[in-house]
Amino acid sequence: MSGGAPLAGQSAIVTGGAGGIGLATAQALARLGAAVTVVDVDADRARAAAAEVAPGTAALALDVTRAADMERMAAAVLEAHGRIDILVAAAGVLRGEAGRPQMLHETTAAAWDRVIDINLTGTYFANRAVLPAMLKAKSGNIVNLSSTSGKKGLAYDAAYCASKFGVIGLSESLAEEVRPQGVRVQVVLPEVVDTPMLAQNGPLFRPKEMLPADRVAQFIAHLVTLPAGMVLVNPVLGVFRAGRRAGAGA
């Protein structure tokens, strides 16, 4: 409907921006006029993704599990653009180790740590790093990625579910805390999304119906362009299974 670019002049950071929801979100925000910085732990993938997003898109090879890396991220974006208007914390993993889904008692502590470190602590580090600039500007939009697994635990997914429940707790708490200073924190709970992350499940458990990553990206773009006076609380974006009976597959 609108003619102009709603995010023109804004600077956006997308962690996990080299693939899946992150890449699709980087593209969606760039289409709306934002100057996007793609952050990914893999330098080659970050560069390739940035080239795919838009000319002039910056790539940073940084690790969300390292607080110092996230601080470098914020500093680099501030140096380049002078501002951070949007953070989409999309970096995430499904499993900490290769292989099929496992029973809780079979999972290693290292696999648990990796999922929590990336999904939950990584979200915390990314949020924490951009907040000083947003608080100073008295404005900003943060969107964190949770999941329907952030509301209901699923078998064989304890670490992932724990991390995504945690992202909601973190985001709700932070939203209340920084709202007086004009920083809007929202968290999205998508159902199953067609991304490379699902491959961590192995060939098993590949759902027939999934949301395209761009569907989630468009919704995130909607969240950061909402009118200033409103906020969507923990929205659940589901697959609309028209004409499918539960359990019928198809």
Partner: protein, 268 residues
């Protein structure tokens, strides 16, 4: 008529004001023909005129004077829509009340049974009846979008609002059940849960003043428009929308965090 809803027919209950009126305008602006449903013909005509202004063209559509608590009225609403406009693509069930009697909030123990019955009959049974009336046409078409307007009171009970909260919890329960059922026929049912909205509904709360911070009806209307224009492979489950309050800090904050905040302000 152009726009994402060009050629679509939308029924809006509670169209005489508030969220319903604003939503009729937003849907008309996006190209939909509007059937404005409510109890007061003059108010419905005003809404239709506003919808036509928003559409910037003479969009088809009509006012249907009807009571959502009447099964016959709801059936007639659907029949006339199909007769005159050929189909029903969208239902926005936004008709609702906060209280049935003057006098403001009352403890449950002092609530007359009549009050309870009227609130439940209007909000919950009325939403059921409007949904039920449009479903045969939507199921025949194998497509349709229903948005039921509930409230944050559908998730959490509030003191002195037992009937209202019960009705809104009920709308969410009914809508979730219907979503599971109607999707088999390609009909998407979504429920919007707004926090306080700037509408005339607060007059029913007197002498208690309206909430300090409310959503604008236009914000609610735009969110409803977003829901019905979502790509058909996705659905938003019970989205909650509340005012984003950038306002004064709690009194204790300065004492606890004042030094930290001040330091950050100087050094940043």
């Amino acid at each position: 008529m152009s726009g994402p809803l060009a050629g679509k027919v939308a029924i809006v209950t509670g169209a005489g004001g508030g969220i319903g009126r604003a939503t009729a305008r937003a849907l008309a602006r996006s190209g939909a023909a509007i059937v404005a449903v409510g109890r007061t013909p003059e108010r419905l005509e005003e809404t239709l005129a506003l919808a036509r202004d928003a559409a910037g063209a003479v969009a088809p559509g009509f006012a249907e004077t009807a009571d959502i608590t009447s099964e016959d009225d709801m059936r007639r609403m659907a029949e006339r829509t199909v007769e005159r406009l050929g189909r029903i693509d969208i239902l926005i069930a936004s008709a609702g009340i906060l209280r049935a009697a003057a006098g403001g909030p009352k403890p449950a123990v002092d609530t007359p049974i009549e009050e309870w019955t009227t609130v439940l009959r209007t909000n919950l049974r009325g939403t059921f009846l409007s949904n039920r009336a449009v479903l045969p046409a939507m199921m025949r078409q194998k497509s349709g979008d229903i948005v039921n307007v509930a409230s944050t009171s559908a998730l959490k009970g509030f003191a002195y609002d037992a009937a209202y909260c019960a009705s809104k919890f009920g709308i969410l329960g009914m809508s979730e059940a219907l979503h599971e059922e109607a999707r088999l026929s390609g009909v998407r049912v979504q429920t919007l849960l707004p926090g306080p909205v700037e509408t005339g509904i607060w007059e029913q709360n007197r002498p208690v003043p309206p909430p300090e911070k409310s959503l604008e009806v236009a914000q609610v209307a735009e969110t409803i428009l977003y829901l019905v224009t979502l790509p058909r492979d996705a659905v938003l489950h019970g989205p909650v929308m509340v005012p984003f309050r950038v306002h004064r800090r709690p009194a204790w904050r300065a004492a606890v965090l004042g030094g930290v905040a001040a330091t950050r302000g100087e050094s940043a």
